[in-house]
């Protein structure tokens, strides 16, 4: 039997949560920004090993500039969180520490992956400039546009959940 795992994507609006999911599930990307309202739920089966796979049920939440504004029912029964921010917009990662602490405090045993998206828009020097903020917190620098690290993010997380 295939296990189901609920993964919730959180973060400010316009950071590329929906684009990351589209890249992962359909392997496509669109420059057009369409705001997500409420929640979209998608599903993809990921092969863990030859005889084992897992169904990722991915909740793509409407972006919020404050995690506390998120409807609590959306987070019920989550097996993992992916917190996404936009590397090119400091407003989306200025409160990264506080946002992550909220998750830690309310969902003690639920793993959180922190993702700096839109890597294609910034340089390595730019990322180094924010090293103090990113260094210990960020797990992946991704680009939904180029697909960089998107597959790795979801497949590694899937393995961790089994």
């Amino acid at each position: 039997m295939t296990a189901s795992k609920k993964i919730v994507l959180l973060g400010h609006f316009g950071v590329g949560k929906s684009s990351l999911i589209r890249r992962f599930i359909e392997n496509i990307f669109s420059e057009d920004y369409k705001v997500t309202i409420g929640v979209h739920i998608s599903k993809k089966k990921v092969e863990i090993s030859e005889n084992e796979d897992v169904s990722l049920i991915i909740w793509d939440l409407e972006g919020q500039d404050d995690i506390k504004k998120t409807r609590s029912s959306y987070l019920l029964g989550s097996h993992a969180f992916i917190y996404v921010f936009d590397l090119s917009r400091p407003a989306t990662f200025n409160n990264l520490g506080t946002e992550l602490n909220f998750l830690k405090d309310h969902f003690t045993n639920v793993p959180v992956k922190v993702v700096g998206n839109k890597k294609d828009l910034v340089t390595k020097d730019y990322i180094l400039q924010y090293n103090d903020v990113f260094d210990d917190l960020v797990d992946y620098y991704t680009s939904a546009k180029t697909g960089s690290k998107v597959e790795t993010l979801f497949s590694k997380l899937a393995k961790e959940l089994i």
Binding site: V35, I37, I41, L76, S88
Partner: protein, 500 residues
């Protein structure tokens, strides 16, 4: 009657399901979503909330859930109510229309916020770039000032020696090139000051008619060299003395005149100054400078006030910084400037500027200054703290020509205190380029020696003449700044102003 309406609307908007713990569908009411045997097979949403069915007497609400199917898409609110063991009611309310309207609003709001953030970042980036550029220009120009000052002063001194006429001609060319270079550097610094918002207008009483006559005399020489007719017209009712920034007024008029003479090869240049009005102790002046030069096509007239604009490739009208500075200065002085021009026929610049009128006391004081440059009973002692030999020699030459001063030179910061303690000093000049020591630190140390040394006027010899620099200097007891590059007149004016 109401029953019929209720049936119609409730049927369309609500779907109710009764399911057991395993998610098997026991009953379905008013379906708008297609269902099979299992709740979790309807949509991944239900698969991920399956565990909630196991806890009885609980109610969970999920608003704005997007349910996308092959046959249709819905945005719904869902309530899952575990009524009793093994029986759960799922209520789905179709709010697609309502949420789609909300989506339009959210889309607009988010796009506005994102665009604003992006613009703010771009602006920040541009400002950082601009600040870097302005600082670079200021520092670089500063480094050029010592050699330019020395070159100008020594060329001038050389001119007074026994030279052949050929040598004098060469020296004239050197002096002219030096003057040109100095003006270019000042232009670049002015632009840097203007763009970084550090330009300050000084305010003092000056003889307006003298200023105009100086300009006219200077450009009459240029006109005769170029074989141009220079017509001037000064209204009879112009005020003698006004209060404002004389240096900047001269720069505005000089830059426009210089532009007119540069682009006129035959015909004339006309300069007029008249009075618009006097109101509330303020005078509004009107200036016109016209020429019979190459002119500018109407489509390009706005561009000539932009820096480094090459307006007309054909006749090679290459505008540098002069008119850009004029435009900024005029705006800074709350005035206005416009241009009327026809290609191949000539141009006319029209400028209106306001100044405060000088009062009686101001005029008396200013007139008395003309008699100044006092004769001292004994020579005064000037201590120069400077490690550039070029500047040391330049100051020495200026002071020896003047004859009223003894010059003592200290070339390094370590010797300053001993030098001040062991000799009589009437005025101190500290260079801002002395190695390892800031002029402010040296001034602070001198003032700390004794009560007497606190009274000695200290001036800085510096190219840092921005508002913040002057303020900083003053906070350390530096009374005034002699700006580099200097000449004999500007140098001595400042010295006589402070020495007693």
């Amino acid at each position: 009657m109401l029953d019929n309406y209720q049936k119609k609307y409730l049927k369309n908007n609500f779907q109710l399901l009764l399911v057991d713990n395993e998610g098997s569908i026991l009953e379905v009411g008013n379906p708008f979503i297609k269902v099979g045997n299992k709740l979790q097979d309807i949509h991944p949403f239900f698969e991920s909330v399956q565990d909630l069915l196991l806890i009885k007497n609980q109610q969970h609400s999920f608003s704005c859930v997007n349910l996308d199917f092959d046959y249709d898409n819905f945005i719904v609110d869902i309530i899952i109510h575990t009524v009793k063991k093994n029986e759960t009611v799922v209520i789905i309310e179709n709010l697609t229309k309502h949420y789609n309207n909300y989506q339009i609003t959210a889309q607009r709001r988010n796009e506005t916020v994102i665009n604003y953030e992006v613009l703010e970042l771009k602006n920040k980036y541009l400002l950082e770039k601009e600040t870097f550029k302005n600082n670079f220009i200021a520092n670089f120009s500063h480094q050029l000032r010592n050699p330019i000052t020395a070159s100008a002063i020594f060329s001038k001194l050389l001119l007074d020696t026994n030279l052949s006429s050929e040598q004098k001609n060469y020296l004239d060319i050197i002096l002219s090139a030096n003057k040109d270079l100095k003006e270019r550097i000042n232009d670049i610094l002015d632009v840097a000051k203007i763009e970084s918002g550090k330009l300050i207008l000084s305010e003092s009483v000056f003889n307006f008619k003298d200023l105009l006559n100086e300009l006219i005399t200077g450009y009459s020489i240029i006109a005769s060299k170029k074989g141009l007719d220079f017509k001037t017209e000064l209204a009879f009712n112009l005020p003698d003395y006004i209060r404002g920034d004389a240096y900047r007024l001269k720069q505005i008029l000089g830059n426009i005149l210089s532009n007119a003479f540069t682009y006129t090869t035959k015909g004339s240049v006309h300069f007029s100054a008249s009075l618009n009005y006097i109101r509330a102790k303020k005078v509004n002046l009107h200036f016109e400078i016209s020429d019979t030069g190459i002119g500018i096509d109407q489509s390009q007239q706005e561009e000539i006030f932009e820096r480094f604009t090459k307006v007309n490739e054909q006749n090679n009208r290459n505008i540098g910084l002069g008119l850009s500075i004029v435009k900024h200065l005029v705006e800074h002085m709350n005035g206005n400037i416009s241009i009327e021009s026809q290609l191949d026929k000539g141009s006319k610049f029209i400028c209106n500027l306001s100044f405060k009128l000088a009062n009686e006391d101001d005029i008396k004081y200013k007139s008395s200054l003309k008699e100044l440059r006092p004769k001292f009973d004994t020579k005064k002692n000037l201590l120069l703290i400077e490690d550039s030999e070029l500047i040391q020699l330049s100051v020495l030459k200026i002071l020896s020509s003047d004859g009223n001063f003894f010059l003592n030179i200290v070339s390094n910061g370590e010797d300053v205190i001993a030098s001040v303690e062991n000799q009589e000093v009437d005025i101190i000049l500290i260079s801002n380029t002395i190695q390892r020591y800031a002029a402010e630190e040296i001034a602070k140390s001198i003032r700390a020696i004794s009560k007497e040394t606190r009274k000695i006027p200290i001036l800085a010899l510096s190219s840092e003449v921005f508002r913040d620099d002057i303020k900083r200097y003053k906070s350390f007891g530096i009374k005034d700044v002699i700006s580099k590059p200097f000449n004999d007149v500007s140098f001595l004016d400042k010295i006589y102003k402070h020495v007693k």
